[in-house]
């Protein structure tokens, strides 16, 4: 089976973000970057399928500046077979532009399965996978938490509120991956050394004019410090008074 996994390089979400001076993005100084969480699950799921089959290929694809090579190398050190960078100066916010560039690369090759994370951990639009499917005329299953491919046919499990549904589909197809499918492995030192020798191709990204741009970014306003009204039962009358008269949430 030939599997393509599209991965995005995103900032580590554990930090306090600052808005850059131009107010159209975050200030990148001091940020740590890594593969987006859901993309990590997708890579892991792809690698497990390849390992189970004992054959095949996992090609990882990332669109962006040269810094994405680091993310691609990480996927290679986890075990992916080869990598493709679709080079551009910055990743557009417009998911359709990204999807178009990816589709023009992926459409030319024969992949049995094209995988994405359910959404990127930074912008959380979750549109690129389905758009690529649409552009390539392939079936798409989103947010899969289990995936099984048997003889050219796939079954995917999707979590629903209080239950799950199982979707059957024919290959080739596009799937987007939810967490829970498989914990991404840590790249081993042996894997890191092996990754150095694996092919990483760089091609220009075939990006259309973006139709969406970020107009402005703001941090949520700081929450005001709370007020302690009193303690125990004695505080209740005052609390009720404040809720009625100041906050006006009680009638």
């Amino acid at each position: 089976m030939r599997i393509a996994v599209c991965i995005k390089r995103v900032p580590d979400m554990d930090v306090k973000f600052r808005i850059a001076g131009h107010a159209k993005g975050v200030d990148e100084t001091g940020l740590k970057y890594d593969m987006a969480d859901f993309d990590g699950y997708a890579v892991e799921a792809a690698l497990q399928m390849m390992e189970k089959e004992g054959a095949g290929e996992v090609v990882v694809v990332s669109l962006g500046p040269d810094a994405v090579q680091e993310t691609l190398r990480k996927a290679l050190s986890m075990g992916a077979t080869s990598a493709i960078q679709l080079k551009c100066d910055e990743v557009p916010f417009d998911g359709f532009a990204v999807a178009s560039a990816l589709a023009s690369e992926l459409g030319g090759a024969t992949y049995d399965l094209i995988m994405f994370g359910r959404m990127s951990t930074d912008n959380a639009n979750g549109v690129v996978g389905p758009m690529v499917a649409e552009l390539l005329g392939l079936p798409v299953v989103t947010a899969c938490s289990k995936l099984e491919i048997v003889a050219g046919r796939g079954t995917a499990r999707r979590e629903l509120e209080g239950g799950a549904e199982f979707v059957a589909f024919d290959l080739p197809a596009v799937v987007t991956i939810d967490e829970g499918i498989a914990r991404p492995r840590y790249p081993s030192l042996k894997g890191i050394m092996a990754a150095k020798k694996k092919p990483l191709a760089t091609k220009p990204a075939n990006l259309p004019e973006p139709r969406l741009v970020i107009a402005r970014m703001d941090l949520p306003p700081e929450r005001k410090a709370g007020r302690i009204v009193g303690e125990g039962a004695a505080a209740v009358p005052e609390l009720v008074r404040l809720l009625q008269q100041e906050a006006k949430v009680l009638a």
């Binding site: 740590k32 190398r73 840590y186 790249p187 081993s188 030192l189 890191i192």
Partner: protein, 597 residues
């Protein structure tokens, strides 16, 4: 629970800008040490330590090891973590590829070791000792033993120990009594008891290889009659699988202040089968190859603990609000300011930071010298590097572990009562740090090694070589007007080091107690100068890169320069006091009658 954040950013600076780590790839045998590979390894090794090793630290301390009828159960998660460490290749990263290792430089290994120790010292003791046995066998065993045992240590299947200490023989290993009697087939039977043996028994691996110091029947008394033996827990069968159970048993384990997840064992050898490693009666010297490596490792333990304590102290100081800043309210909308605004909190945090980042640079510098010592094609370059490593070994061991005890205490102090109780894990770092000042030769033994052995060797050759390097750095720094004050302070400290060395050389000849009374002060002065050397270099590089542009951002360079300033203005002046006490001589401690105690 405390969190561990791997110091990857600082290491990126050290590897790319402070030292030319990229040049290691041109040394023979280091073709794989591509800088990109090393940086990725730092990143991923750091993440592995953060996510897999660190979460086992606090529960491991609470649970400790359990002894049951001769077996030892390590804390939950340790066996799986050991297997993961080995499978991923972290354990064997600097081991010889001929035995399954990755053949990567010590410069990387030191960095990864710091992270492992910071994440979980108790756990990291086990792979540390396994690698000690690897090094001992690699340097001294014959081909047959190497081929049988090394691949199994490298793969993580078998672990190991260093068995030196006996109840009556700690610092003074000349007193060792464990006896080895040769068998006709070339093996020996060992009888005796070892105490305090780390990793002496556990459930992490299917076999444990003990490297044991013992005496052959014809051994001369004292340190010149000690030989080194390999005693496997299970004697390998014809296929190299663990075979017959050998007569080495764990009698009990110690209950102790810190590193509670590390089993400290009493081991009984009751006619246990062993094989001589190296030459008869040269065992102590052979053991020193791994002891030197282990001493540097203990220094890295101190660095790691100081670093993780620092990270958690800063995180707390950023959040905790108490009192108002003395220079005026900082957060009027809140009921109090963050304690990070208090000058005294900063003073403590900066002590930790200047110690940690300075020590980390010195560790990396030393690791780089080890790589040169091992790999450089030119023998005179190798020899010089070997001198520098030998000189720096006791300094790193003692100065880093003494500093770690101070730093981890500041860590507790920063959290106040919350540092003292268990919940935040800060008190564990203090308890875990304490042993570093004791094992692998107490810090006094390190001071004596430095002052009594390394200094006089070749008429002070090691120190001369080192001072030449230090003075060259000083000369470079003096060319940057921004660094004038730092260079000035550093120059004065270097002179104090020379004066201390001179005092030892002149006074020590007539009376050994003069060396004994001065050695610890001298080592401290040396430590401050060696870390100061690294701070001057970091300040110089940061000052240049701030103008010419480098790979780090401005804030990083600014912080380096400010931390350097703290070091030169508030830490390095200690050398002045230390020199005064050193010069006061041995009289004030020796002129005290025995019966006055």
């Amino acid at each position: 629970m405390p969190t561990f954040r791997a110091p990857v950013v600082d290491y990126r600076f050290l590897f790319r800008e402070l030292f030319d780590v990229a040049s290691l790839a041109s040394l023979p045998g280091y073709v794989n040490a591509d800088l990109d590979v090393l940086l990725t390894a730092l990143e991923e090794g750091g993440r592995f330590c953060e996510d897999v090793i660190a979460p086992l630290n606090m529960p491991g301390d609470a649970a400790g090891c359990r002894w049951e009828a001769g077996d030892v159960k390590t804390p939950e998660g340790f066996p799986a973590a050991y297997a993961a460490l080995a499978d991923a290749g972290w354990l064997s990263l600097a081991c010889d590829p001929a035995y399954g290792g990755q053949g990567l430089p010590f410069t990387l290994r030191f960095a990864i070791d710091e992270m492992l120790y910071a994440a979980n010292l108790s756990f990291a003791m086990y792979p540390g000792l396994a690698l000690g046995v690897y090094e001992g066998l690699y340097a001294h065993a014959g081909t047959a033993l190497k081929e049988l045992y090394l691949p199994r240590v490298v793969s993580g299947k078998w672990a190991g120990t260093m068995c030196l200490t006996e109840a009556h023989a700690g610092t003074d290993l000349g007193l060792i009594r464990t006896a080895a009697v040769p068998n006709p087939d070339g093996s020996c039977l060992l009888t005796g008891q070892k105490v305090f043996i780390s990793a002496g028994e556990h459930d992490l691996t299917e076999n444990i290889l003990h490297l044991v110091l013992a005496r052959l029947p014809d051994a001369p008394p004292g340190t010149h009659g000690i030989s080194m033996f390999l005693v496997p827990k299970f004697v390998p069968d014809a296929n190299g699988a663990p075979g017959a159970r050998n007569a080495v048993f764990c009698r009990s384990i110690e209950h102790k202040m810190g590193i509670r997840g590390s089993a400290t064992c009493v081991l009984d050898f009751d006619r246990a089968t062993g094989w001589l490693v190296g030459e008869p009666h040269k065992g102590l010297r052979a053991m020193f190859t791994l002891m030197n490596a282990a001493r540097l490792g203990v220094g890295l333990q101190g660095l790691g603990l100081a670093g993780v304590s620092y990270g958690n102290a800063v995180a707390y100081a950023r959040e905790r609000r108490q009192g108002r800043s003395l220079s005026g309210v900082k957060d009027p909308q809140a009921s109090a300011d963050r304690i990070l605004h208090h000058a005294d909190i900063r003073r403590g945090l900066l002590w930790m930071r200047a110690f940690v980042e300075g020590a980390r640079a010195l560790a990396t510098w030393t690791a780089f010298q080890i790589d040169v010592e091992l790999r450089h094609p030119d023998s005179s370059v190798r020899e010089e590097a070997a001198d520098l490593v030998a000189l720096m070994t006791p300094v790193i061991k003692a100065f880093f572990t003494d500093g770690a005890f101070v730093a981890t205490n500041i860590g507790v102090q920063t959290l106040g009562g919350h540092g003292y109780i268990r919940d935040y894990g800060m008190e564990q770092f203090v308890r875990d740090a304490r042993i570093g000042q004791i094992y692998e030769g107490t810090n006094y033994v390190q001071a004596l090694d430095l002052a009594g052995r390394k200094l006089p060797d070749g008429n002070g050759r090691m120190l001369r070589r080192y001072l030449a390097i230090v003075r060259a750095e000083l000369a470079e720094a003096e060319r940057d007007p921004n660094l004038a004050a730092m260079a000035n302070a550093f120059g004065a400290a270097v002179n104090r080091l020379s004066r201390g060395a001179m005092h030892l050389a002149t006074k020590g000849i007539a009376n050994g107690d003069e060396v004994g009374a001065a050695a610890s002060d001298f080592l401290q002065i040396f430590g401050y100068v060696a870390v100061g050397h690294m701070w001057l270099r970091q300040a110089r590089v940061a000052s240049q890169r701030r103008v010419t542009g480098g790979k780090m951002d401005q804030r990083f360079y600014d912080a380096k320069i400010r931390t350097a300033r703290y070091f030169f203005e508030r830490m390095l002046p200690q050398t002045e006091t230390l020199l005064v006490t050193l010069m006061s001589g041995a009289g004030n401690v020796m002129d005290f009658d025995d019966d006055a105690w």
